[in-house]
């Protein structure tokens, strides 16, 4: 059963990677990164039940990673809105210089 969960997480991670590298809208790029973080969380929880030493540690790590990911999403959206004010676009192709 463990390998099934790991496979689902691998699929989720690869789809998130594809989205993060190909999408133009910066919001969607942020969401694809959240997708990859979710895949990692799924792995952690799966190992916390089916690993060789089952314990709560994987679930605690998942809790902390969810908290850090929420902070990352908030800061990411704030940076995106500031960038949008400065550039007038959310297209990541146009964010190719630090200042102008």
């Amino acid at each position: 059963m463990l390998s099934s969960y790991l496979t689902i997480a691998a699929i989720l991670f690869c789809v998130g990677l594809y989205g993060a590298l190909t999408k133009r809208n910066a919001v969607i790029v942020l969401l694809s990164i959240e997708l990859m973080l979710n895949a990692v969380n799924l792995n952690l929880v799966a190992f916390s039940k089916y690993g060789i030493m089952p314990s709560l540690t994987g679930q605690m790590f998942t809790l902390f990673s969810i908290a850090v990911a929420a902070a990352e999403a908030a800061v990411g959206i704030a940076v995106l809105i500031a960038l949008y004010r400065a550039r007038g676009t959310v297209n990541v192709d146009d964010y190719d210089e630090m200042r102008r």
């Binding site: 059963m1 969960y5 969380n41 908290a67 990911a69 929420a70 902070a71 800061v75 940076v79």
Partner: protein, 172 residues
């Protein structure tokens, strides 16, 4: 390898996997950004169902609250605060997308091969915290994980104040 018994857990696992994979694939194939966010909410709810299957009920509720609730709404706010094109209209970057697809598929192939090759030993003990998951997590959080817990609270405070400062309109 494929010794499948049609238990309730397998059926639930199958339903949640279909939800996760179809949501993720729809996310990369939709063209309107709001539709992408909605399909991602389906992925988050599917992952919460997986957490329930893995005896992590508290994390499942946290997942629904934080991801399916807060993060999705935050991203929709982000889309509405910026001038999004209704759909991605520019010409597709065929070269880059093809190369990325090949790379992602190769990564999945490597991961799948590794997962299939390794044999995972049977768990040695019954996992603790199966009876009352929320209470076990609370006890662990306030005994052995006090310092990381407090650090997370500091991190969240700093991050949200920073987000407000960044997104605030300039005074001048």
């Amino acid at each position: 390898m494929f010794n499948i018994d049609f238990s309730g857990e397998f059926v639930a696992f199958f339903v949640f996997s279909v939800m996760i994979i179809s949501g993720a694939v729809l996310m990369v194939s939709f063209t309107k950004v709001v539709h992408m966010v909605v399909s991602l909410a389906a992925v988050f709810i599917g992952v919460a169902g997986m957490f329930i299957l893995l005896n992590a009920e508290f994390l499942a509720f946290v997942q629904v609250l934080i991801y399916a609730g807060a993060v999705s709404i935050l991203m929709i706010f982000g889309i509405m605060m910026t001038k999004h094109q209704e759909a991605e209209t520019e010409q597709p970057r065929t070269m880059q997308e093809t190369l990325t697809a090949i790379g992602a598929l190769a990564l999945f192939g490597i991961l799948f091969y590794a997962i299939r090759q390794s044999d995972f030993p049977e768990p040695q003990a019954v996992p603790d915290g199966t009876a009352d998951n929320t209470m076990a997590i609370g006890q662990a959080l306030f005994t052995s994980y006090v310092v990381p817990f407090e650090l997370v609270s500091v991190l969240l405070t700093v991050a949200f104040i920073g987000a407000i400062v960044l997104a605030k309109k300039e005074a001048d």
